[in-house]
Symmetry: C3
Subunit: 323 residues, 3 copies
């Protein structure tokens, strides 16, 4: 049962309390969805109507609200960035809500040679293989598999069903038959990474498959052997990266993006959802399409593509008359 | 070992028995594949040859077979809808075939605060978290994860490896670093839903991610935080829905479809396989392509696209002569 | 700890030893990445610089190196095919590296009616259902699910989290509601198949879903009910095949390829990544695009598509002047 006092929230988010600080909330939600027992936030004047109508009894508001009529009978908390403060309140609620087991659950299987850092939680059904190393303060949700030699940093979150360190997809084809190339490398996950449910990250053929500090990976993403991903990237659900591709820092890959092997994706590149990348990508590029092109050009081409019927009809007439 | 008598089948499907009712079958299959010990069905005159040649010793046939020469020496069962009756026979066989464990298997892990309804089967390797509620007569196959607070209705089937209630993919980016927005909402699955193997359905940031009554979800589908899906939808394998999108009732999403966040998909819409949806979709719309267009237009545009070489050649000639 | 002597490597790969055979290596890597304690390989004169600079103390080299200055102070091993010999060395290292448990791990769940062949390893967290049969010398990694009646041949590798035998996605829709068609068929995996992490292969409605000898399936692939796949195919990550499609021998499906149901894909066909297949494919065809076209044509059309702005501008001028 969640129970937070408005004055404690104000103190936690370093905000200015306007109204009754003894009011309690039991949850949090957007202005439209919030019940009377919940806290909400207002950060943009286009939601002014929602602010007037919200049932939330506590609302985070920005420091500048010049002109905005503030709702009556509510406890308000002024903060520099209401969205950010709301995320902090979600954190307070989460601390009351979550009931993580302590340490390694007895229904997880951990090989004796594996090491697990202090403060790390390993849920039931996990498998942690020979020589695997997991850092401090990690959350390893149920049924995660970390194969042998996998190395996980500190404050890493791995969601249920993810598989790290399965063999890379490597075969030598002789006379039409595919012979397995043993995969003796490993997977390295740096600090502060989050890995979604049912993600697969394969071990390297030799050397490492590596995910850099602060990178966040959504569900059902596939990362092949020897891929290197830099710091602070976002890789959205169902994207797939083929073998040996190198991704820079602060790169965003949209949902269902596919990237072929042995490419280099420059720092800060943004690849829109469902795009297919077949060539190296410059730093800062914004691409879309399969095969991908610069986003602005891709949108123009799509617009003209939509007029192909008209173009085709005119072409038929012109051809008849003049060719 | 399956053992069904033709007369019992006829009675179960409320059909008219023609021939020897004491004949036993040990399975069922299509006309071409069926062995002598199996039951089959005939529902369309284009399969008349297959009907004559089938080895099946018992065949479901339609009530109207005017003109069709019925095969000799077989037991036939007349029914209004042979396909439907065949599905019922598969159900009879399935009852003899399946050996579900009873109740919650001791190798599943269920938190003490979770509740599980009567008649529900939980297979080994499942994890059912704090405060999760599962209704009556559900089948929860091996290694399914239901994170804390997840609510599952009655007669729900969840296939192996599915993960419900993992954290939504939500981050606040400040100065290039992605800070986790705690995900305190939950997942609600209504009655009669089926969820495929290794599907992921994320918990809401606040509030609910919800799947409506009767909706059927295929394998490896991704449903992000705060998505709402209506009743009786079909969501085919590897489709992905980004955060906060609302899907109406009786919507069909083809395989590998991608839908961006915060959209509304109208009732009865049909999105063809691999399409990408970047805008709201009207009720009843039939769309194809990435980005998607009305199906008929998309097919026309594809046809013209296939002639671009011809158009380009003429364009070069016209340009030389006249521009 | 890996420990291999150069002379033992030379003997295992049937190579000619040049230099000190008593040198030991502790691993293997490419020329650029290898440390002093590792073995590497040189197979192409374009890597001649890397060969001169490599730190690897043992290098596999081809039999013909006419003109190439060989590096001093290293142990070299002459072999007919250095890449192939390197794969063999990885195998030697793998034998020292891997610590498979023996037989069926007690934390796996195997139904009493299931049978498991000699030399097969079943890791913790696996579920092997009623009447399932697994052949000899298989590796079943953690948390794999083989539902009832599934049959797996010899020397099959199934990576963590894969689900074989979940119900096919089959429904009979009556008055807008989807009624489950019971799925009483099974999955058959022939010998020497490898199946990636979190793959899903559904059981047949009736009869079999079948994967042929020597076929290699990458992570997160979806294979629907009643699909038949031939021998020695490569199916790359996140590809999906809809129900009842028949795939020939030695077919390659690229990453994220989608194939609709009830099609026939001819022997030796190659489908490029992200393609969508909506029609039967001829043997030996090489296709690309969604919908897919012959690869050469698809690339030409994409090139012209990139010039649509130019074409459109000329079309507007021509239309104004002449139509």
């Amino acid at each position: 049962m969640i129970h937070l006092l408005a004055k404690d929230v104000a103190s936690a988010v370093k905000g200015e309390l306007l109204g009754d600080g003894s009011v309690a909330v039991e949850g949090a939600a957007g202005l439209d969805e919030a019940s009377e027992k919940e806290l909400s936030f207002f950060h943009n004047t286009k939601y002014i109507d929602a602010l007037q109508k919200t049932k939330a009894r506590v609302v985070l508001i920005p420091q500048q609200t010049n002109g905005t009529t503030l709702p009556q009978g509510k406890t308000l908390i002024r903060v520099p960035n209401p969205q950010w403060a709301f995320a902090q309140v979600l954190g307070l609620i989460d601390q009351q809500r979550q009931h993580h087991p302590k340490g390694v659950h007895p229904k997880a299987h951990v090989e004796p040679s594996a090491t697990i850092g202090a403060g790390t939680v390993v849920y039931p059904g996990c498998y942690i293989g020979h020589n695997a190393r997991v850092g401090k303060d990690c959350l390893i949700y149920p049924n995660v598999v970390l194969r042998e030699d996998t190395e996980v940093g500190d404050q890493v979150i791995i969601h249920a069903g993810a598989v790290l360190g399965a063999d890379g997809y490597g075969f030598a084809t002789l006379e039409g038959r595919h012979h397995k190339i043993p995969q003796i490398g490993r997977v390295v996950i740096e600090n502060d990474v989050e890995i979604g449910a049912n993600v697969t990250i394969d071990r390297a053929t030799t050397g490492e498959t590596r995910v850099g500090t602060g990178t966040k990976i959504d569900n059902l993403v596939h990362i092949a052997h020897n891929v290197h991903i830099g710091r602070d990237c976002l890789i959205v659900a169902q994207a797939g990266l083929a073998g040996s591709t190198k991704v820079g820092h602060r790169v965003t890959l949209g949902g269902q993006v596919g990237i072929v092997g042995h490419l280099t994706i420059g720092d800060g590149a943004v690849i829109a959802a469902q795009s297919g990348i077949m060539n190296d990508v410059e730093p800062g590029a914004v691409l879309f399409g399969s095969p991908a092109r610069p986003h602005k050009q891709a949108m123009k081409l799509q617009a003209i593509y939509g007029r192909l019927e008209e173009i085709y009809d005119a072409f038929i007439q012109l051809k008849k008359k003049y060719l």
